[in-house]
Symmetry: C2
Subunit: 272 residues, 2 copies
Amino acid sequence: MGAIVTLPLAENSRPMRVITVNVNGIRSAASKGLFTWLAGQNADVVCLQETKAQEHQLDKSLHYPAGYHVYYHDAEKKGYSGVALFCRRQPDRLIRGMGWPDFDGEGRYLQADFGDLSVASLYLPSGSSSEERQAVKFDMMARLMPQFKRLRQMQRDYIICGDWNIAHRNIDLKNWRGNQKNSGFLPEERAWLDELLGAAGWVDAFRVVNQEAEQYTWWSNRGQAWAKNVGWRIDYQMITPGLAGKVRGAAIYKDQRFSDHAPLTIDYDLPL
Amino acid sequence: MGAIVTLPLAENSRPMRVITVNVNGIRSAASKGLFTWLAGQNADVVCLQETKAQEHQLDKSLHYPAGYHVYYHDAEKKGYSGVALFCRRQPDRLIRGMGWPDFDGEGRYLQADFGDLSVASLYLPSGSSSEERQAVKFDMMARLMPQFKRLRQMQRDYIICGDWNIAHRNIDLKNWRGNQKNSGFLPEERAWLDELLGAAGWVDAFRVVNQEAEQYTWWSNRGQAWAKNVGWRIDYQMITPGLAGKVRGAAIYKDQRFSDHAPLTIDYDLPL
DNA sequence: CGTAGTATG
DNA sequence: CATACTACG
């Protein structure tokens, strides 16, 4: 038998894999196999939203996957919101929140820095439950825009992952016509993403490699939304332009259902 | 073929069947087949406790079994307590509560009169959740005793069915030794039943025909209580002495599980 | 542990 | 409709 020769890839050609998923309760998602699935994904960074737990309620054995540095940033209110990061490599720095007490108390932003790359888990408020919450969402959007513009001036690369709770274009949800007055597809919300992805210079990493319709990441639990694929694309990895050319592939995982959102995986041609 | 002759039973020899069951949520019990089972029982009166619903939340088709006059007496607080009566024959009179606003607002007593017989559904407070609730239970017991003594002076027969939340004797629960300091088997509670069944002259209908041990009607949901038959007999049909000789049979139904309590059926040699 | 209610999405 | 928390038992 001849010897099998494997050519090792150059260090900087192994892709960096980033997964983002709104888990709608990390304990629920865990019970549906999220961590088993993650163990096979070989992700470098995993960004979670809506953990709906406080760290003291979690199991060391279950919710702290082996081989990762695990960071939770919880809401003060029990069972509400919360984001997390699982990082293969130990970050040089961790940033919890935006420095805004109202936003930060809801556990909505967690950032890890690795050299000149930052990866963040963001959970934008939903506006669907009331007028008041829609006002909070608009307020957060207004405060976040200058922040995102500022980050673009830094000499750093950013990957801001998360549940942005806004579908961008008609192609990004099944019933765009019927949802123009609904939170998540309001003209002001779409214009905000237009600005982020236009004047502010950010890039929707998924769309770099995939321009197809019906690429949804969220389906309502009501009715037969999942079965009929009546979905929305509201989970994104937003990246600074220097990374755009390094998006190698993107995938939405629908074979299992861990929550009402599907995981979004993007591979980048980056060393990490 | 020869003619089949069936001898009709005399009117007053058909037994009257009374069933009592704490349903721990009538909607939950319904989903587990309570009403399907009841339809085959041919009961004359069914006494329910812990309906945990207000009448407007119930389905006419499901929670009002055909062939019965149905009466619910709900707690003011949603999802809490509540008793009900299903009566094959229309009662001459219906009595809601004891005339005590605190007790009656919790939906704990409902009585139907048929000629000189009264059948009631009673739900005595539980004392297990706090010292305060144990005090309420003791207070109710103190007020009920003179009431039950008064009823004994009436020229009527009474069947007071329900969840009395007290096991009477050592034989009436699995771990009597370990429960002597626990609500439901406190010395004061047992003494109260001693008085009811002694000086006050009431009769525990089940014990008229069954003196065996391990005749439980309730099992904790915690641990393996049901599987290990670690139960308590806390549901009774308490009757006036004139009915004692008419208890024909008694049964606790354990083949299906509608709630944490089992239905208690007693047949009486009474016309109704 | 299990049935409810409520908030939130 | 689904995941949480809370009350109550």
